[in-house]
Symmetry: C2
Subunit: 421 residues, 2 copies
């Protein structure tokens, strides 16, 4: 009899979370849809008005003071949400959602090199936190609703619901997934993706043609690529952290000078690079044959050093206080690096661009299983084994610190020792 | 500098495990290939000589005494391997591999209803343990090589390497994956699968046609199906455990009477069911339109109660001491139940057979992520979201005890509470 009660109590638990998922995903999905639409509008506007870049330092000052005046503790962004899941404290402020939305749009309008997943995750997280307070959830349930917020934001922004759910569970600690919110996260991300699509938002389609059967030489190249992708993720995390701490040590008073300097460096970099293609999101470029994620899937679609340019542009932008996510730039860096490696080793370009796309992200965020599944959701199942090899290898070579400083270390990559529950 | 040493030490770690993976996967892959070939031979032989079934009670006695005389502690099978990973002790005896191979073939030759993954996992595990002793591995490294053995056996026997690697990590505890052997397991299962295929072994191909775009009604049916699949997995685990403990309480001396009784019941059940299709592996039947896993993917390919028949046949066979795995019968139960649910609710039969195939297995072994990936490896990526919904739901409804009694409980399904590291 006790066993039957167990199933009944699971049913109750799931019904409860399904009902809670509805407001989370309706609001998060809709706000992410609005965000994606506005992002598209400001990106096109910037393409038509190239001079906006010169106002980037000024935009940085505006963002700085917006957070200083109204931000409370929300500047910590994704890390704050993760901290609240690890150890519920003061909660995630509701103002995080509008603030990050507006400041990300400002960053993109004036040409900062940034992404969008951070914004979506923060929108999801802060809405979830607000709902949690309204419904007076317990500490344990607040953790779950925050994870649902992450899943909803991530699932909606990239149109990859299963990846969103796994990501929300996997990102919290390096080397471990716990299933304490498996189904709630899946429900939230599926619903949020449906809501976002219902608003008419469509996601970029990528395509990898079937190039070959299994062969050992290709597997060797993929492992080599995985090592390179891992190191690239490592260098990216290291540089953005270093730029942040260095600029904070250099500029002790008048902190608004940090984004001004950052903005000036981005302008300077644009002149040196001789192209505006490293500004903004980079999924597509202003001209059809410009350097972009989509073109990284074509032979000669990017230059040999495009990945490094995008890495530097993004590390400077985000390291000096501009807003947005890291993930889309990581896709760019990975796809471009994959393209370069493929051209150098004579491997299929589309495949390697796709592998780099997911593996650099896996390395920088320490989420190899979510990224393998992202490969399936974006590119299909033919190469699932290659996705896993690239993501797992990259994960091992990215060291023990990713882009999220609040991520905990559960299992060592060096010897597999358990460090924390 | 310390950071660079970190990457170097990861490289050393990975090279070490890649080298160790070669003997593990060469031996495990080859032995699994031999096993699959012999399994095919004995199955065909039994189809041609139906009278062999009447010797099943006698075969049970032989298996009983084989283990009693030479088995040492290897009768514990998969559970022993899992125990050794949790808490390294006396090790897995090398004799486990030949013993389980021979006794599984005996079970199948005389018509016991059983699977093959248990056998493959035990072959992999005992070979890995032997190699670990030869190479004088430390306790921590012995755990990793045992996981590699599980991954190699599982990857090779079903031709699903990524599933094998994830399964080896996921099966150890309910509600948690730890990445302490992520890449070693992947290397071992990929190599073992390649070795097994190189011997000319081919795996059954399943196919789900694209039936429909996303719709909410279908999603509802899949959630309902997931609940049913979860309960079926739960009932299966419960019945085989109950039959085992009941028969041990009933027959206190002359334990060999247990398999004799089990064999007689299977003969009786065959008469009642009026078909031999529930004997043996069940991937295909002796006649092309018999009841089998492959035919469960067709409308009217199985009867409404085929899933329950297979459940009873298998629980009796394995609960009374015959050998083999549980997974292929779980595939059968799931595919047949999926077929029945699809016919009842008017859902696409192929899709539901595929969902049941993976979800009942996910429920009974508490491995929802491995089974979602198995869906992709076997049926392609079009329905990855449905695989996840079915497997995750089934996982929640299978209670806290699966078919492996040595599996630990890490995270509660009821409220997500962490119970053990």
């Amino acid at each position: 009899m006790q066993k039957i009660f167990e199933q009944l109590s699971v049913t109750k638990h799931l019904l409860f979370w399904t009902l809670l998922a509805i407001p989370v995903s309706l609001t998060a999905g809709s706000l992410v849809a609005l965000f994606l639409w506005l992002l598209d509008v400001v990106t096109r506007f910037r393409w038509e008005h190239a001079w906006l870049l010169y106002l980037l330092p000024l935009a940085g000052v505006v963002i700085h003071f917006l957070y200083k005046l109204w931000g409370k503790n929300s500047e910590a962004g994704n890390n704050l949400i993760m901290d609240e899941i690890h150890q519920p404290g003061g909660g995630v402020p509701a103002r995080m959602a509008p603030l990050v939305l507006i400041t990300t749009l400002i960053t993109h309008l004036f040409g900062g090199s940034a992404g969008r997943e951070g914004t979506a995750v923060q929108i999801g997280g802060s809405l979830a936190s607000l709902l949690g307070k309204w419904f007076r959830l317990s500490k344990e349930d607040t953790r779950i609703i925050l994870m649902m917020g992450i899943a909803a934001g991530f699932g909606a922004v990239f149109g990859t619901p299963l990846t969103g759910a796994i990501f929300a569970l996997e990102v919290l600690a390096i080397g471990r997934i716990k299933y304490n919110a498996l189904v709630p996260c899946l429900i939230a991300s599926v619903f949020a993706d449906i809501v976002c699509s219902a608003w008419g938002l469509h996601h970029t389609k990528y395509h990898i043609r079937i190039v070959t059967d299994f062969d050992f030489l290709l597997l060797g190249k993929i492992i080599l690529g995985g090592v390179a992708f891992g190191l690239a993720g490592y260098v990216f995390a290291l540089s953005s952290h270093s730029i942040k701490s260095f600029s904070n040590r250099l500029i002790k008073t008048h902190k608004w000078l940090i984004p001004v300097t950052g903005g000036c460096i981005v302008i300077l970099l644009t002149f040196i690079a001789g192209t505006e293609d490293y500004l903004g999101l980079g999924v597509t470029a202003s001209s059809p044959d410009g350097i972009s994620i989509v073109n990284a899937f074509n032979e000669n679609g990017v230059t040999s050093w495009s990945w490094l340019w995008k890495l530097v542009f993004t590390a400077v932008t985000l390291g000096t206080g501009f807003k947005g996510g890291e993930v889309t730039p990581l896709f760019f860096i990975g796809a471009a690096l994959g393209n370069t490696i493929a051209m150098l080793t004579g491997a299929p370009v589309e495949l390697f661009a796709g592998l780099g796309f997911i593996a650099v992200f896996a390395a920088a965020t320490n989420t190899p299983i979510a990224c393998t599944i992202m490969g399936v959701e974006l590119f299909g199942s033919d190469y699932i084994l290659y996705y896993a090899v690239a993501c797992f290898t990259a994960y091992y070579f990215s060291g023990h610190s990713g882009i999220y400083t609040s991520q905990r270390l559960a299992v060592s990559k060096k010897d597999g020792a358990t460090l924390e529950d």
